[in-house]
Symmetry: C2
Subunit: 246 residues, 2 copies
DNA sequence: CGCCCCATTGAGACGGCTCAACTTGCGTGG
DNA sequence: CCACGCAAGTTGAGCCGTCTCAATGGGGCG
C-alpha cells in the first residue's frame, strides 16, 4: 500500500507512515521484535483513511480477512441478537487490537463501529499467518493477544455476573484509566469516548442507573464528573468498591 | 509418554492410545489434517491418569505450559477474585479444549477443576508452537479455536448482561444439548455434569433462582427435571425464551 | 429561537436476592 | 439394619437494587 496517499500525506498528527515510526508500536507489536521483522509486518499493513463517528469497519457476517489495530480515536464492538438487541462487547483505544472474532467461521461475528473520528491499521490475517510461520515471535505474539482478549472477557463475565452497579462502573473507569496511563496520558483525568448509552449497554445497566451511579460516586468524592470528562480523585477507594457484591 | 501405563492398559472405555484412534478427533483436531501430521501431534500429547471430581488440573498463577483437551468426564474453569468470590467461566465436555488463558502472561489466569472423574490430554504449548511453524493447518486450527472461545465468551456477556433467569437457563440447556448432540448423544435427554451451585454461579443467579426456574420450565412442559437428569420436550419454545429481556 | 439528543433526577414496579424451613439421597457408624 | 449427619436441592415470604416510565435540564446546530 505504498501508493496509499494517507501514508505520505500526513493529514493530521496521528497518521504514521510506518510501524517503526509509530509511537504505539510498543503496544501492538512484540517488544522483542527486530527492525527488519517490523518492516516485514509494516509492508502488509494497510493504513485507512479516517473513519467517521458512527461508521462501521465491518459487520456481522462480513467475510473475515483482517484484524485491525486502532491508531487514533476509539472503537466499539457489539453483537446484535435475532431480536435486534445490542450487546457492546468491547471498547478499543489506540494501540489495541480487535477483530479476533470470525477466524473460526471465516465470517465476522460482531459489528465494529467508530465512536469518534478514528484511524485504524488493517492487518490482513492470511499474510500474518504466512509471516508467523517465518517469525516465531510474531506467532507467539498473536497467540498472546488472543489469550489476553480471552482473559479480559472472563473478567468481564465476573463483572456482569457478580458486581452491582457501582462495582461495574468503577471497574470500567479503572480499566480506562489504566489504558490511558499506558499511553502516557493522565490516568486521573480522562475524557470518556463513549456515551452513557454505550456504557450502560456494555455493563448491563440502563443509562439511568449509570447516571445515578456517576452522581453517587461524585457525591462521595471519589470522582468528578462533567459530562464525558471524568476526574478520578481516589483510585484506592474506587478500587475497593470494584469487589463483587450484588 | 509411551511409558505411561494409561496408554497401554485401557482401564475403562474412554482411554485411547492415540489421536488417530480417538473418536473425538473430529472435535479437537482439524478435519483436513493428514495422518502423518496427526501422528506428529500425537507424539507430543501426554495422556493423564483419571482426575477425580474436585481435583484441580491447574490453578491461577501456575506456570503456563500446556493446554488441555477433555477426553472424558467434564471440567469447569473459574476465577477467584481478591475477596474469594468465585466466577465459573466455562464448562468443558469431551472433545473440547481449554487453557488458552495465560499464554500472554506465562501464568494461568484461572482455576480448572474436574466436576466428575475425567481424563484429559495435555498438549505442551511450546511444542504446538514449534509444530505450528511446520504445519500451517495446525497454526490456523489453534487461531480458530481461540477465536471460537472469544466468540463464545461474547455470547456469554450478552446472556449475563441482557437475559432474565429463564433466558439464561434456557440458553445453557440448549448449549449443552447442542454439544451433547455433536458427540452423537441424545440432544433431548441429558445428565447435567454440574451442580445447581455451578449453574447459578456461571449464569449470575443464586441456586434458589436456578431451582425455581427449572421448576417453572417443567410446569410449563418445556422440560422434565429429575435432579441432574434433564429431558427437553420442546426445543423450539426453549429457543424462543432465550431472547434478551430482563 | 426552537429543535433534538443526551443526560440527570424522581417515583413506583418488579425480578431476583436473602433468609429460612423442609425434603431427599447418600454415606457412616452404632 | 436403622439412626444419624451432611450436602444438595426445592419452596415460600419478604426485601432491595435496578428497571420502567416520566419530567426536566442543558448543549449543539440549523
Amino acid at each position: 500500500m505504498t501508493t496509499d496517499p494517507y501514508n505520505i500525506a500526513c493529514t493530521h498528527g496521528f497518521i504514521q507512515s510506518s510501524c517503526s515510526d509509530c509511537n504505539l508500536k510498543g503496544l501492538c507489536l512484540p517488544i522483542a521484535m527486530d527492525i527488519k521483522d517490523i518492516d516485514k509486518v509494516d509492508n502488509i499493513i494497510k493504513r485507512s483513511r479516517p473513519i467517521q463517528a458512527g461508521e462501521h469497519i465491518y459487520r456481522t457476517g462480513d467475510g473475515f480477512t483482517s484484524i485491525f489495530a486502532v491508531r487514533s480515536g476509539s472503537i466499539k464492538t457489539y453483537l446484535l441478537d435475532d431480536d435486534g438487541v445490542e450487546q457492546v462487547t468491547g471498547f478499543y483505544l489506540p494501540g489495541e487490537i480487535l477483530g479476533f472474532d470470525g477466524i473460526g467461521t471465516e465470517k465476522h461475528g460482531c459489528n465494529v463501529m467508530a465512536m469518534e473520528t478514528s484511524t485504524v491499521c488493517e492487518i490482513p490475517f492470511e499474510r500474518i499467518e504466512e509471516l508467523s510461520l517465518q517469525i516465531p515471535v510474531l506467532q507467539r505474539h498473536f497467540f498472546q493477544l488472543m489469550s489476553q482478549q480471552i482473559e479480559a472477557d472472563h473478567q468481564m463475565m465476573l463483572t456482569l455476573s457478580k458486581k452491582n452497579a457501582e462495582g461495574r462502573v468503577a471497574t470500567l473507569l479503572l480499566s480506562l484509566s489504566r489504558r490511558f496511563g499506558r499511553r502516557n496520558l493522565s490516568p486521573n483525568s480522562l475524557r470518556l469516548p463513549m456515551s452513557r448509552m454505550d456504557i450502560g449497554n456494555f455493563l448491563g445497566l440502563t443509562i439511568e442507573t449509570v447516571s445515578r451511579t456517576f452522581s453517587r460516586l461524585q457525591k462521595e468524592g471519589l470522582i468528578k464528573v462533567d459530562g464525558r470528562e471524568i476526574h478520578i480523585n481516589d483510585h484506592k477507594q474506587l478500587q475497593s468498591i470494584c469487589h463483587a457484591s450484588k
